[in-house]
């Protein structure tokens, strides 16, 4: 048994079989003998430790004073430069750090060097004794008996019914967490609509200046919001659905499916900027590969193929905004999106 290195993976010689239970064990030798520390034997060492602890506490006092200096001398209210703020923040941090570490390290040093380091033994007790259990059972029986809940099922059952029903209003109370007062159907339906409509001009984000078709060169990309967004009632809510990316590609390179032939203007196309994965704005346009990339989870969409997903976790293509040119040469929407923008949801369907 002593030579254990000649085994095979199946039988190493040391790996005991499940059935041979090791009966004999080494006896517990008890706690190892205590080794005295330097300070236990040498009073001078103890005195030295004492001074060290006091020094650490003094460092803490200095740290606290330093905090006050940083607070009142380095800092002043109003028009602090960013550099001044940084210095003050670092100084406050260092002051606090020294104040706290001085106390903490001092106390621990004190405990480790000067307080007794003899380990003590305490015995564990049963978590529950059998006598206690019997007493408890008796008490519970008495309580049940005196309440009469077992003998009077009418009381018990009606109480269960009442208690089961009572919390339900508390759940319905939360119906108005949705603050707009819309019906369930309206709530779902609003996800299908954005500010875009026939004739709404495409304007730059955030300035709101309209864009002429001639402004859009091949390879360029515009972050677009609908005209009038900045004056809308719920700017952020509308913007969260309506933001659009506008790009121009060589029409030869684009695959256009049936029904979308007139959705672009000479290769100028507009797609929803809201990722169909979980809704991050798709901020990156890679001109050479004409891929759009979402920086949050790296969903990648191919502009040449109507923004179909080519990589990453998004499950469906970016919705396209049909566009045209108005009489003054500005780009305008032909209609709203033909499908909901953003992440998929249960009621979305095809």
């Amino acid at each position: 048994m002593g030579d254990h290195s000649h085994g095979s993976p199946e039988n190493s010689g040391t790996v005991a079989k499940a059935d041979d239970v090791a009966q004999d064990r080494f006896p517990d030798p008890g706690l190892p003998p205590h080794r005295p520390r330097l300070a236990d034997r040498d009073p001078r060492a103890a005195k030295r430790h004492e001074r060290q602890v006091a020094l650490l506490f003094t460092i803490s006092i200095i740290g606290t004073l330093f905090f006050f200096v940083s607070y009142f001398v380095l800092g002043h209210l109003g028009d602090m430069t960013f550099a001044e703020l940084r210095v003050q923040n670092a100084a406050l941090g260092l002051g606090t750090a020294f104040a706290m570490l001085g106390i903490g390290v001092g106390i621990v040093h004190w405990a480790k060097t000067l307080m007794p380091d003899h380990e003590l033994v305490e015995s564990r007790h049963e978590i529950r004794t059998e006598a206690d259990r019997q007493d408890a059972v008796e008490i519970v029986d008495t309580i049940i008996e005196e309440s009469g809940i077992k003998r009077r099922p009418l009381i018990r059952n009606s109480l269960i019914g009442a208690i089961a029903l009572a919390p339900i209003p508390a759940i319905f109370m939360f119906r108005d967490l949705e603050r707009s007062g819309k019906t369930a159907g309206e709530m779902v339906e609003q996800l299908r609509h954005t500010m875009w409509d026939t004739g709404v001009r495409l304007t730059r984000d955030p300035s709101g200046t309209p864009i002429k078709a001639s402004d859009v060169q091949i390879g360029s990309a515009f972050h677009v919001i609908p005209e009038g967004l900045n004056e809308a009632e719920d700017v952020l809510n509308e913007k969260a659905k309506a933001v659009v990316l506008l790009m121009r590609m060589d029409p030869q390179e684009m695959n256009i499916s049936e029904g979308r032939e007139d959705w672009n203007v000479d290769g100028i196309v507009a797609y929803s900027k809201i990722c169909t994965h979980v809704g991050c704005p798709i901020a990156l346009y890679e001109q050479h590969t004409h891929h759009l990339l979402c920086p949050c989870h790296q969903s990648t969409f191919d502009l040449a193929n109507e923004c179909k997903v080519v990589f990453g976790p998004a499950g469906h293509a970016l919705p396209q905004l049909p566009i045209m040119v108005d009489a003054e040469g500005y780009l305008v929407a032909r209609s709203d999106f033909h499908e909901p923008v953003g992440p998929a949801y249960w009621e979305r369907g095809q």
């Binding site: 002593g2 064990r25 190892p32 602090m80 033994v121 967490l177 991050c280 920086p295 499950g315 249960w346």
Partner: protein, 556 residues
């Protein structure tokens, strides 16, 4: 009933103490806790770090509430941070900037709060790993393991609700992701999102709601669970590592007063000091750089706080489409199509769900497989429970692959590799990594156990090279002392338990499954050295040789 000789203290302190004692019975409390024994080990400090960072969170968080205004009402910023002057933003964002720039020490408090939060969840996690790998969750501590797990979830909830409060661009995009995940839930998802945000995303209700959760509900639940957790620690008495003199029936360590109180109390100040140092020197969450939330812009390389990373990483790993197959399933119903958004549902719910389910159920799984329902107050050295250590390592790798995936874009840009390749590799690791980790960890544990056997049987390497008269070199081996030997040989080696028939003589299918798992876990095992084996080893090599007096080298 008049007492003839009631105790009258002589000093002022004594009179005060006696007054309290005669009203609340403090003597009993002092008697119970004053010299209560706590075992000492560095790995027991992680739980303390969690407790202390939580205290720091309460302190710094209370300070922040005095200045923070969670309203989402639109304001134009007029504070002292020049680059954002005149920019429209929510009141929450503006007051966050005011705390940073116009309240002295406000930025420091924000940093203390954020760093403490990161450390809080980190120390909770490491503490749970310590408990898992040492088997401290076994009877009677299963319930405390569950309480700890819920505390971890509440820690995540606290972090998540707090992270969004400044209403800056980064956290706003985080909320947008939450909105997307909520909407993916079948049937209820859309409504859940509407109720959560008070209407369409982002609305102007979500920040105040998160605020009341963050400063009231979540901390209250954490404090409640914390009290239950510590109460159970006192009830059970702390576990201790195995070793000479330490048994299942005793506790060996230092008394609360003065040593343990001093060490633990001093440690609070050390944790405070370290957090203060980090907060003074290292900038975190500079919301003024991100700007206010706007649904249109986003910065590249966005990262969530570390503890949300594993879910975010899972979201990134999931492919949305494979060829022409989309993971958004459109299911036709009589009233129209409904969408089942598996591309979001699967990664958001399944890995985290599996991780937490196995974690919560593990004490019962282990008890079922090992048929070990005894009380355990002595911890396992992780090597002595190879199956458990291997399972834990598999879980850690599973978690860390997802966690790494949350930085897939940063990995790609830092190491100049293709983003897609990083994702492909991590997808493969997601499945293969845990298996490799399980296998490798188990082999390492078994090897370490064999090494322990060798040390007991053949002595430890003394580091002394001897030359024999023939000119051969060998290393002297010295027998380990009885204390070390006891540590190396005294462990609970779980063994394969074949399927057992029940009272009626049947072997149930469940029992057969248990036997299979038991076999898988315990077929390979290394038994502790027994005294008779040691005697045999000594006899084989000659007693004097084990003592290290002869020049013969130990056969390797």
């Amino acid at each position: 009933m008049a007492t003839t000789n009631e105790y009258t203290p002589s000093t002022a302190t004594g009179r005060l103490a006696n007054f309290v004692d005669t009203r609340v019975g403090a003597s009993t409390i002092v008697k119970e806790f004053g010299r209560k024994i706590f075992p000492d080990h560095w790995s027991f400090m992680f739980g303390e770090v969690a407790l202390y960072t939580f205290v720091l969170l309460l302190l710094s968080g209370t300070f922040l509430t005095f200045f923070f205004d969670p309203s989402m009402a639109h304001v134009v910023y007029e504070g002292s941070y020049v680059p954002l002057k005149g920019i429209g933003m929510s009141t929450a964002m503006a007051s966050t900037l005011d705390i940073s720039f116009d309240v002295r020490g406000g930025l420091f408090m924000r940093q203390v709060h954020h760093w403490s939060a990161l450390l809080f969840v980190a120390s909770l996690s490491v503490h749970m790993l310590r408990v898992f790998f040492t088997g401290a969750f076994r009877r009677p501590r299963e319930l405390n393991w569950v309480v700890g797990g819920v505390l971890l979830i509440m820690g995540l909830a606290a972090g998540f609700t707090g992270y969004s409060l400044p209403d800056d661009l980064l956290s706003g995009n985080g909320l947008r992701i939450i909105d997307g995940v909520m909407k993916a839930l079948p049937v209820v998802g859309t409504y859940l999102s509407m109720f959560f945000f008070g209407g369409e995303f982002p609305g102007e209700h979500v920040i105040p709601r998160l605020y009341s959760l963050h400063i009231m509900i979540v901390p209250a639940v954490i404090i409640l669970l914390l009290v239950i957790h510590l109460f159970m620690v006192v009830t059970h008495k702390h576990t201790q590592y195995p070793g000479p003199g330490r048994t299942n029936d005793n506790v060996v360590g230092f008394p609360v007063g003065p040593v343990y109180a001093a060490k633990a109390g001093g440690f609070f100040f050390i944790v405070f000091g370290i957090v203060a140092f980090i907060s003074g020197i290292f900038q975190i969450n500079p919301v003024w750089n991100y700007g206010p939330y706007d649904p249109s812009p986003v910065s590249a390389g966005t990262q969530p706080d570390w503890y949300i990373g594993f879910v975010d990483g899972a979201l990134r790993l999931m492919p949305g489409v494979l060829g022409d197959f989309s993971f958004v399933w459109n299911i036709p119903f009589p009233w129209g199509d409904n969408s089942l958004v598996l591309s979001v549902l699967l990664p958001a719910l399944v890995p985290a769900g599996a991780l937490f389910t196995v974690m919560f159920a593990w004490p019962w799984i282990e008890r079922w497989v090992t048929k070990d329902n005894r009380e355990h107050h002595l911890l396992d050295r992780p090597r002595n429970a190879p199956f458990r250590t291997a399972m834990g390592a598999a879980g850690v790798v599973f978690y860390c692959v997802m966690w790494a995936a949350a930085s897939s874009d940063l990995i790609a840009t830092h190491f100049h590799v293709a983003l897609n390749d990083v994702t492909y590799w991590l997808r493969a690791l997601f499945f293969v990594g845990p298996l490799v980790a399980f296998w490798l960890t188990r082999r390492i544990c078994l090897s370490l156990q064999r090494k322990d056997r060798e040390i007991v049987l053949h002595g430890r390497e003394a580091g002394i090279i001897q030359m024999s008269p023939e000119g051969g070199f060998s290393e002297k081996h010295e027998e380990v002392d009885v204390y070390k030997r006891y540590l190396l040989t005294n462990f609970n080696d779980n063994q394969y338990i074949p399927a057992q028939p029940d009272a009626a003589g049947h072997i149930s299918r469940k029992e057969k499954r248990r036997a299979k798992i038991s076999k898988f876990f315990f077929e390979d095992r290394v038994a502790p050295v027994t005294p008779s084996e040691l005697a045999a080893a000594k006899a084989a090599h000659g007693h004097h040789e084990v003592e290290g007096e002869k020049q013969d080298s130990i056969e390797k």
